[in-house]
């Protein structure tokens, strides 16, 4: 069995179900046909450029909960990468 862990930030436009759908089509008949896709979603984290406060939030378009500042920069949530692949190495 092979398992692939994909990290996806919640601020990207990447939809897990959509990636899974195309993964199934593209891997059909290949060694990855039965591979499991694991999605690790990363919640957005923001930095207030006014006061430096670091905070989590649901989406962009928010104010700093500390100082009310509107200049917010996303620190986490824009990821889209393969973190790891697990393969059967016969060590079970």
């Amino acid at each position: 069995m092979t398992a692939i862990t994909i990290v996806v930030g919640d601020l990207t436009s990447i939809v897990d179900e959509s990636v899974q759908f195309y993964f199934n089509i593209m891997t059909k008949g290949t060694i990855l046909e039965d591979a499991i896709l694991r999605f690790k979603r990363i919640a957005p984290e923001f930095v207030c450029t006014d006061c430096g406060h670091l905070f989590t939030g649901r989406s962009i378009g928010i104010r700093c909960p500390d100082c009310g500042g509107k200049s917010i920069v996303a620190d986490k949530g824009q990821e889209f990468y393969i973190e790891s692949v697990e393969v059967d190495d016969g060590a079970d």
Partner: protein, 228 residues
């Protein structure tokens, strides 16, 4: 089970090509402006008006991205502007590989501003680097003031925001403050230009800003060449 660390960006191939595009543009004295907007916001009109304003200072080229048709490319070609049309078929955005092919077809014999008119879409174009220097987002009063709240990711990448059709602001009951608050909530407020491609208002300020960005990049390149 053995676990192998990968930690590789899934869009890495595109990022690498975008980097190569960037080198290509830098060595040819080209400033590249990626124009993103919803369909009908006025991308083509804005590009045309900007070229009119700066025609005596720079050479221009345009890459048109649409799912289908050559309508915009024909408009550019009629005015003698070098243009390449990319038809993306069912794809909703341009990527670095498409730009590499199209950009290689122009001749760059003097400092050039290359406009890439991305596919009309406020979602996917924001995910794919093309090798551009500037990302601009054109909003329009007709599409409403709530778009930065609904499509924040495109505004996240904006180096400048234009509000087109500003002559219709009152008729459309466009709330300027609500729009600006929405953009400022996504990132520190980028330069904002209120323009009307119909009556020409605001276009001088925008063209002036773009020319200064161009000087910053190309002036620097020329300086380096002179030193070297």
């Amino acid at each position: 089970m053995g676990r192998i660390e990968i930690r590789r960006n899934i869009l890495e191939a595109n990022e690498n090509l975008a980097r190569r595009n960037r080198d290509f543009f830098a060595s040819n004295d080209v400033l590249v402006v990626n124009v993103m907007a919803a369909p009908g916001a006025g991308k083509t009109s804005t590009i045309l008006k900007t070229i009119e304003s700066l025609a005596d200072q720079y050479a221009f080229a345009v890459i048109e991205g649409d799912m289908a048709s050559r309508i915009d490319a024909d408009v550019m070609a009629e005015r003698g502007i070098p243009v390449e049309q990319i038809n993306t078929g069912n794809m909703c955005h341009l990527d670095a590989n498409m730009i590499r092919e199209a950009a290689g077809k122009f001749t760059y014999d003097r400092p050039t501003i290359l406009f890439i008119e991305n596919v009309g879409n406020l979602v996917c174009p924001s995910e794919f680097s093309l090798g551009e220097d500037l990302n601009i987002v054109i909003a329009s009063t007709t599409e409403g003031h709530d778009k930065p709240y609904k499509y924040p990711s495109i505004y996240l990448r904006a180096d400048a925001v234009l509000i087109n059709k500003i002559d219709l602001l009152e008729a459309m009951e466009f709330d300027r403050k609500m729009f600006c608050d929405g953009v400022a909530a996504v990132k520190p407020m980028p330069p904002l230009f209120e323009i009307s491609c119909r009556n020409g208002s605001g276009l001088d300020d925008w063209a002036c800003w773009l020319a200064s960005e161009c000087e910053r990049k190309l002036g620097g390149t020329r300086g380096k060449l002179a030193e070297g």
